[in-house]
């Protein structure tokens, strides 16, 4: 009974954080509304560029259809790692700016759950963005994604795995963001380089060798590749069973490592008394 109550408290805590995020965002309707079309606009820009590049080689629209599906798959999975990785960091930045970070961290509630609550709202928004993206791709370019329920289920499982792995980076990033003065440090180190290294818009095979080595060290790269293999039947750059193994191990190890890193950083700033000193 006591355990049941404890879990109920945890769920309520996550929902309360998500609701708070919703209330904050509802104060900025223009920003919230436009953020729903964020990925769609990126998709249009990149697919038009791909079409332009293809046209310069003299290829027709059939070429563009397969390329579009390739780009679409990258953007869908990008949403999942963006939610867990950047959502956590942006959430911390918002809390810092609002001045509520101290209060949240002073409460006896588990910090990991507080942070997870921040992601819930972003996750719902991400699902809406993906739905808008898929509908627009169907109507504008006639591209159907998730043609069977199997691709939907297996693709969904891989996407969720990518999200869980990314949360490891997110927790680490949250720790860095809380303890440093510069909010862009984490974004500089991870957000933008990850787009380049993980092959969201292309296969990492085109990267120079030294960049490729970095890509191989990021498990999200395998997630994107496996997602493409399951949904578009693209050939993987290592056997798909190996990719599954890497993803399976990372799903367990990365969040744990992220949480441990976050707790270590948290401990150090609680000891020094520097929590939220750099608002």
């Amino acid at each position: 009974m006591a355990i049941g109550k404890k879990y109920k408290y945890y769920i309520n805590l996550i929902l309360a954080m998500a609701k708070k995020d919703y209330l904050i965002n509802s104060k900025y309707p223009l920003s919230t509304f436009m953020s729903l079309f964020d990925v769609l606009i990126s998709y249009l820009l990149i697919s038009l560029t791909a079409f332009f590049i293809g046209k310069s080689f003299g290829y027709d629209s059939s070429f563009s259809a397969s390329m579009n599906a390739f780009l679409l798959s990258g953007l869908i999975i990008y949403q999942f790692f963006d939610v867990a990785m950047n959502g956590l960091v942006y959430g911390i930045i918002v809390e810092k700016n609002l001045g509520t970070l101290n209060r949240n961290f002073a409460s006896p509630a588990p910090k990991v759950l507080l942070l997870s609550g921040i992601v819930v709202y972003s996750f719902i928004l991400a699902l809406i963005r993906i739905a808008i993206l898929l509908i627009a791709a169907k109507f504008l370019f006639g591209i159907g994604f998730f043609l069977s329920w199997q691709t939907f289920v297996f693709g969904g499982i891989v996407a969720l795995c990518v999200m869980i792995i990314s949360s490891g980076y997110g927790f680490l990033g949250a720790g860095i963001t809380v303890s440093t003065e510069d909010p862009a440090l984490y974004l500089f180190l991870m957000q933008r380089p990850f787009v380049i290294f993980t092959g969201v818009f292309y296969s990492i095979m085109v990267l120079p060798m030294f960049m490729k080595l970095i890509s191989y060290m990021i498990p999200i790269t395998y997630g994107i590749d496996l997602f493409r293999h399951l949904t578009l039947e693209h050939a993987t750059f290592v056997p798909w069973k190996v990719e599954m193994l890497i993803i399976g191990l990372s799903v367990v190890l990365f969040p744990l490592m992220g949480i441990l890193a976050f707790k270590k950083i948290e401990k150090s700033f609680l000891k020094k008394g520097t929590l939220n000193m750099f608002e």
Binding site: L48, I196, V206
Partner: protein, 277 residues
């Protein structure tokens, strides 16, 4: 007793320099923020460059340097515009959030020193960052570039004039609107680059969207800069027509900004508080 008197121009100039120094001191506290901006053009360009390589590879074709250069110039032009917008717009927004906007206004009875200081800051750092990025890029692409220095100088002057006027307009928008930076990110990171053809030719668009893209001055800015450095699909006559159109746009923006500013001052005098715009 001798009184120290300073003319309005001198006060404005000193305040502009003070703002510049203050911005430098604020930004110095955030080195990663500086570096993310400095490397921004490269980070924007690289995914497109690798996308070009990927498409070439898929189609067993050689990577087209002309296409990469086309994308590169687009990224440079848009980086200038985006950095100007964020440097000036967010400087004003930051003052509003810190509650020091009225203080700025009271010192010199105008917001111009604040805006000009932010503009000066933006220009200096863009000359260093984007200048370096462009030189490196042009060095890399040198065999494919045919620079016409007269055209390029004129194009760059118009680029800076247009982007600074647009930034002033944007900062007024930020003062009015309840916005958290998302609109900025979408406009400059996706919507505008897409409609204006940052990484592709707008001739790919259907007629209606092509017409919209031709109304937007940034499309023509991209065209004239590209015309100055690479073989472009516009003629010399079209180049000059685009210059005239851009000059008109800059003048319209200048007058519009002045009117908006006066309107804002009237509002503030009524409310008695800058933070309540």
């Amino acid at each position: 007793m001798e009184m120290l008197t300073l003319s309005n121009t001198k006060i404005n100039m000193l305040n502009t320099l003070a703002v510049l120094k203050r911005l430098w001191m604020i930004r110095r506290r955030y080195p990663a923020s500086y570096w993310i901006k400095a490397l921004g053009p490269l980070m924007t360009y690289l995914p497109f460059a690798f996308l070009t390589s990927y498409i070439s590879r898929v189609n067993h074709a050689e990577t087209s340097t002309e296409v990469q250069l086309y994308i590169f110039t687009g990224v440079v032009v848009f980086s200038v515009i985006t950095n100007n917008l964020s440097d000036i717009g967010f400087s004003v927004l930051q003052e509003k959030q810190m509650g020091t906007l009225s203080l700025n206004f009271m010192v010199s009875s105008s917001l111009q020193p604040l805006m000009n200081g932010a503009l000066l800051y933006s220009m200096i750092f863009q000359l260093i960052n984007i200048g370096l990025f462009s030189v490196l890029g042009f060095f890399f692409f040198q065999s494919h570039i045919t620079i016409d220095f007269t055209h390029l100088t004129l194009s760059l002057i118009l680029l800076f004039l247009f982007s600074s006027q647009l930034s002033f307009l944007y900062s007024y928008f930020l003062l009015y609107a309840k916005e958290r930076g998302t609109v900025h990110r979408i406009l400059t990171g996706g919507l505008m680059p897409m409609i204006c053809g940052m990484t592709f030719s707008v001739r790919l668009f259907p007629k209606s969207i092509y017409f919209i893209s031709q109304v937007i001055p940034m499309t023509h800015l991209l065209d004239i800069v590209r015309y100055s450095v690479i073989k472009s699909d516009i003629s010399e006559t079209q180049y000059w027509y685009k210059i005239i159109y851009l000059v008109i746009c800059i003048l319209v923006l200048r007058v519009g900004n002045q009117k908006l500013y006066n309107n804002m001052i009237r509002r503030v005098k009524k409310n008695g508080d800058w933070e309540k715009i």
